[in-house]
């Protein structure tokens, strides 16, 4: 699996994407437009969301935000970027939480809320369906 760094803004692009037959959420990773981070690898993203790294590649502190547990976007994100099922993610975090080594990412219930938070804070990193991306956020990783 390789990563690409590009921002898709065209409706044509979105239409082609749907015509390609992918009916499920296509999850991209986003940060604030004010962040100096431009591109991240799959491992860099999954390390932050699994609590193994707490900084962006540029050295800034990274604070991850999760979507609601059980949501398609969340399940897709962890399967694509970390190769883990929901149960594996829970087991992973239980090892960290119940040894006092850290806490899982804050859970935010809606993509709209994530966008609002990320726009205001260059330390936050989140994921959302590609169709939700707008000028409030900057895409830094895309998994095909």
């Amino acid at each position: 699996m390789s990563f690409l760094n590009r921002i898709e803004m065209s409706a044509l692009g979105t239409a082609l994407f749907f015509m390609a037959g992918c009916a499920m959420a296509d999850v991209v990773v986003v940060v604030s437009p004010s962040s100096s981070v431009t591109a991240m690898s799959q491992n860099q993203v999954s390390d932050i969301f699994l609590g193994k790294a707490s900084r962006f590649p540029n050295g800034d502190r990274a604070v991850p935000l999760d979507l609601e547990e059980g949501s398609d976007e969340r399940d897709q994100f962890y399967m694509k970027y970390a190769g883990k099922s929901p149960a594996q993610v829970r087991a992973h975090w239980s090892k960290i939480v119940f040894t006092g080594k850290g806490l899982p990412p804050k859970e935010v219930l809606h993509s709209q809320e994530i966008k609002k938070l990320i726009a205001e804070n260059h330390n936050l990193i989140g994921y959302m369906d590609r169709s939700m991306v707008d000028a409030k956020v900057k895409v830094v990783a895309v998994m095909e």
Binding site: N43, D47, K52, A53, S54, R55, R61, E69, G70, G83, K84, S85, P86, A87, Q88, R90, A91, H92, S94, K95, V97, F98, T99, G100, K101, L103, P104, K106, E107, V108, L109, L117, E120, N121, L124
Partner: protein, 408 residues
């Protein structure tokens, strides 16, 4: 103000209303296991660790006491860099009760995102899964391989630790240094084991799905048990030879050391892991070595696994004791020699093959079923305890276990 924060935190779980976090912030979480274990050896008890009073086999045909437990944890964030945690666990104790005990209670200060200091009661970082050995949900197996994890039954340290995380390229490394004191109550003898001045260092190196861990721990270890005290006092009655024997075997501020190396490879669909450990107690408990290898494959919600584990004594399991003609002349000297040798022979020597499967049947709950076939070395009781008259050492036994692990 703080009561409202607690209520809000408890009601909303982890949800964040706005981008600022209210301090102090609290969250409550828990874990548990309900289990039943059956052992084919009914003249001894199968235990998960040395600190359990009753097990499967002799005490109960189907025992819930081996694996059942519940733990509750309160996390508090006081400031952006200062947090605290308290974890209370209820599981079978050395007195047979399920008395809740504080497993952890510490305060953590994050000097930088990579360097943190903790003070209070901390988990002793012995083996790879030692830290979370009580959280069944976090592990693939019903329980960590008994041969390896019974090498060091102490699970916590009262003191402080420092953790430093570094990254170079795709390699992530965490070093942890611990200093503290540990203690635990012994089962049968009604005594206590204490480890003072305990220093530990562990290093975990990760690269993608591969993890390598090395750990070393050393402490001044003492066992205060009426039975052993009487034995060594007895030997000391027999002049310099008796004193030498007592000094050699008594666990009185002896240097206990432990080293382990472990590795795992978990790309997602399958996993392989293994660990090796060596303890040296410089006392009647001897020098022990244990290791295991385990692997599993994930088929949707099912994860079947297999494990092979071994433990053996590296020190002598017998001693001539007080030399002739003393035991021939004195019945009590002969008795002391016999008692010493009985205890030395109780060192574990065992190999186990385990087959099991985990089924993640519901959110936050997993069902596991495991079958263990154990082969005990000649003259040893293996990892079994509470041997009854008629127990034959050096045999074979099987254990069948079912558990449900859950998080809440």
């Amino acid at each position: 103000m703080s009561a409202a924060c607690v209520l809000m935190a408890l009601a909303c779980g982890n949800a964040m209303a706005d981008s600022g976090t209210e301090f102090p912030a609290f969250s409550l979480r828990g874990f548990g296991t309900i289990g039943l274990a059956h052992s084919s050896e009914d003249k001894a008890d199968f235990l998960a660790n040395d600190l359990q009073a009753k097990g499967a086999g002799y005490s109960r045909d189907w025992s819930p006491d081996v694996d059942s437990r519940v733990g509750i944890q309160l996390d508090a964030k006081f400031m952006s860099q200062l947090s605290g945690v308290v974890q209370v666990v209820s599981e079978q104790r050395s007195d047979g009760s399920y008395r809740p005990e504080v497993e952890w209670a510490n305060v953590k200060y994050e000097v930088t995102p990579d360097l943190s200091l903790r003070a209070g009661r901390i988990v002793l970082p012995t083996f790879m899964v030692s830290d979370y050995r009580k959280v069944g949900y976090a592990m693939p197996w019903v329980r960590p391989p008994v041969e390896v994890y019974s090498l060091v039954p102490l699970t916590r340290s009262d003191g402080a630790d420092v953790s430093y995380r570094m990254q170079f390229g795709e390699f992530k490394n965490i070093v942890q240094i611990t200093y503290g004191e540990s203690s635990a109550d012994l089962v049968d003898s009604g005594g206590k084991v204490k480890g003072r001045n305990g220093w530990g260092i562990s290093d975990t190196l990760e690269h993608g799905p591969a993890t390598l861990r090395v750990s070393y721990f050393k402490s001044d270890f003492s066992v205060d048990s009426p039975g052993l005290n009487a034995l060594f006092d007895g030997f000391r009655q027999f002049g310099p030879q008796g004193v030498a024997i007592a000094n050699k075997y008594e666990a009185d501020n002896k240097s206990f050391s432990f080293i382990s190396v472990g590795g795992s490879y978990d790309p997602g669909k399958w996993f392989v892991m293994g660990e090796w450990g060596l303890t040296d107690s410089q006392s009647i408990y001897g020098k022990r070595e244990a290791w295991y290898v385990s692997g599993g494959y994930r088929f949707g919600k099912f994860t079947p696994y297999a494990t092979y584990s071994r433990v053996g004594m590296k020190s002598k399991t017998s001693d001539p004791g007080l030399p002739p003609p003393i035991p021939q002349v004195s019945a009590s000297a002969a008795e002391l020699n016999a008692q010493l040798n009985t205890i030395l022979a109780e060192g574990p020597d065992q190999a186990t093959v385990s087959l099991g499967t985990r089924w993640d049947f519901a959110k936050n709950a997993a069902f596991k079923m495991q079958f263990d076939h154990s082969d005990i070395g000649k003259g040893s009781p293996g990892t079994l305890d509470h041997m009854q008259p008629g127990f034959k050492p050096g045999g074979k036994y099987n254990v069948f276990s079912v558990v449900i692990d859950f998080l809440f």
